[in-house]
């Protein structure tokens, strides 16, 4: 077993404990997807399915090379194809490998209510621990990239693990290894950022002035990064978010409301308790019973303001 000790976690969903920080020197990893080298061959998809023992249903042809049609509980990565005519009228076929971005500040983890169902390792990988997943779908709402998918079969959430099983024994993820053209690279985040810089320079020299790295700050950076020829317009690449961020609605829900609500409920209960010990119960007296009995016997008529 390649159990990672709890000390290898830096974040753990729905946990009230502070993550251990003693092991602070682990290198962060990153996957760099160089879209300009990608030929859309789907080797990554194939290798992902093979390694992770995933086999979604055989679909249909739906008017694109994209297959399956969407990410799914058994589709952890997916090539997306966009035919784009640039300003010069030349065609560009923008092909992007979609999947979990492994955010530094993961929205899924923030939204998850099940303790330990989503964890972030010290190396940056965000992993779903199926055993603890309750299938609520909050991660779906938390994710700024529309990545997690809930299985209808076992009601658990699934996404790319960055092959945490391979990485934990010192191997690269399956998609990285397979990629025929080296469009997917893997290494330390700093090395990948440096390498991306070289690639961007090359792209600029080939006329892609807006080439750049996609490592969105809004989610604290990601451990899956893209080199884009048009980094000024990420949405050209089949809707890659231009400015991804955890939705403010989710931030509010998982931020301020959580403690306020618990405090509010607790306050109400405590207020009740103190009311009890200060004011005390409201009890009826013998006199009330007697008055009532008299009234029932017709010995007393109601005051005018006592009539309805």
């Amino acid at each position: 077993m390649s159990d990672l000790q709890s000390q290898d976690y830096v974040r753990r969903s729905a946990s009230t404990m502070t993550p251990p920080v003693a092991r602070s020197h682990e290198d962060q990893v990153a996957k760099l997807i160089d879209v300009s080298r990608c030929i859309g061959c789907k080797a990554c998809q194939s290798a992902c399915m093979e390694w992770n023992d995933l086999r979604p249903e055989i679909g249909h042809f739906e008017g694109s090379y994209e297959n399956p049609m969407d990410l799914g509980p058994s589709v952890w990565t997916l090539m997306k194809f966009a035919e784009y005519e640039n300003e010069q009228g030349n065609l560009e076929w923008l092909i992007r490998k979609d999947g979990c971005m492994h955010c530094e500040d993961p929205g899924c983890l923030k939204a998850c209510p099940a303790p330990g169902a989503i964890v972030q390792y010290a190396n940056g990988i965000v992993d779903f621990i199926s055993d603890k997943c309750i299938g609520c779908g909050y991660c779906v709402k938390g994710c700024p990239f529309d990545v997690p998918r809930i299985s209808k079969k076992d009601h658990k959430s699934y996404k790319c693990t960055l092959c945490s099983d391979r990485v934990s024994v010192g191997l690269e993820p399956a998609c990285v290894k397979a990629c025929p053209t080296g469009a997917i690279m893997f290494g330390s985040k700093s090395d990948m950022t440096h390498w991306a810089g070289e690639r961007i320079e090359d792209l600029k020299s080939r006329g892609f002035e807006n080439a750049g790295l996609y490592d969105p700050k809004e989610v604290g950076g990601t451990h899956v990064m893209y080199v884009l020829h048009h980094a000024d317009k990420p949405s050209l690449y089949s809707g890659l978010p231009d400015k991804p961020r955890i939705s403010p609605v989710v931030e509010a829900w998982k931020g301020i409301i959580k403690p306020l609500a618990v405090a509010g409920i607790a306050f109400a209960a405590i207020a009740g308790f103190f009311h009890w010990i200060t004011v005390g119960p409201n009890e009826i007296t013998e006199e009330d019973e007697e008055e009532a009995a008299r009234a029932l016997r017709g010995e007393r008529e109601p005051d005018p303001e006592e009539k309805s």
């Binding site: 169902a117 779908g137 009890w276 004011v279 005390g280 009826i284 009532a292 309805s308």
Partner: protein, 219 residues
């Protein structure tokens, strides 16, 4: 259980069954819902056999709760209609909470606090139900966009907190006003209780205007 001779029926058997189904479901919803709301309370999911079960059961509790609440509306909407006396009673809220009942104006079957509980729940429960449907992953996960679901889950949790606060008030009031609990468990109050807390209602009964719960005229 013995029922005093001159007891006044405040809640019929149907009222009480409905209420306690309601109450039970509310507690189940509260426990399962809170378990998914705050990590500190996740342990509550253990009551349902774990997180998966709590997650699966919660929406079904909600569906039955909605149905049950419709029953409550049918049975109680009329007695919770606002009346002029509610204003006076509300003005005397300080006297109410300090047990200074002498200075609280007489009221009918329900005071406006009770009415507020009823109408608050009647508003919140459908909101919870509808937003709950939107985020019911198993059946409606793909029915709406993620953006809609994000808003739905926010509204759902805000409404739930509001409902819980209303519920806390309701439960505490039932404990605070002694013998209220009995009225909902055994269905009756003593004439003195009715006299003390709901004098207008008492006189209505005494004058025979409310047939079903009319106490015997003469002991």
């Amino acid at each position: 259980m013995t029922r005093p001779k001159y007891a006044i029926t405040r809640y019929t058997t149907a009222n009480r069954i409905n209420h306690w189904i309601n109450a039970g479901l509310f507690v189940l919803l509260l426990l399962s819902g809170l378990s998914m709301f705050h990590p500190m309370l996740f342990f509550l999911s253990g009551l349902f056999g774990g997180g998966q079960w709590a997650r699966a059961a919660h929406p079904w509790f909600g569906v039955f709760f909605m149905l049950s609440w419709i029953g409550m509306i049918i049975q109680f909407w009329r007695v919770n209609l606002p009346a002029r006396e509610d204003i006076a009673w509300s003005k005397a809220i300080v006297q109410v909470v300090t047990n200074d009942d002498e200075h609280v104006p007489p009221i009918g079957r329900n005071n406006s606090g009770q009415k507020a509980v009823f109408w608050a729940m009647t508003l919140l429960i459908p909101v919870l139900f509808l937003t709950g449907l939107l985020i019911w992953e198993v059946y409606f996960g793909e029915a709406t966009s993620i953006g809609v679901q994000r808003v739905a889950v926010l509204i759902h949790s805000l409404a739930a907190i509001a409902a819980i606060l209303v519920w806390v008030a309701h439960v505490y009031a039932a404990i605070w006003i002694r013998n209220s609990v009995r009225s909902m468990t055994q269905g009756y109050v003593t004439p003195g209780w009715a006299w003390h807390h709901h004098r207008k209602w008492f006189w209505d009964l005494a004058s025979g205007q409310r047939d079903k719960t009319t106490p015997r005229k003469h002991p």
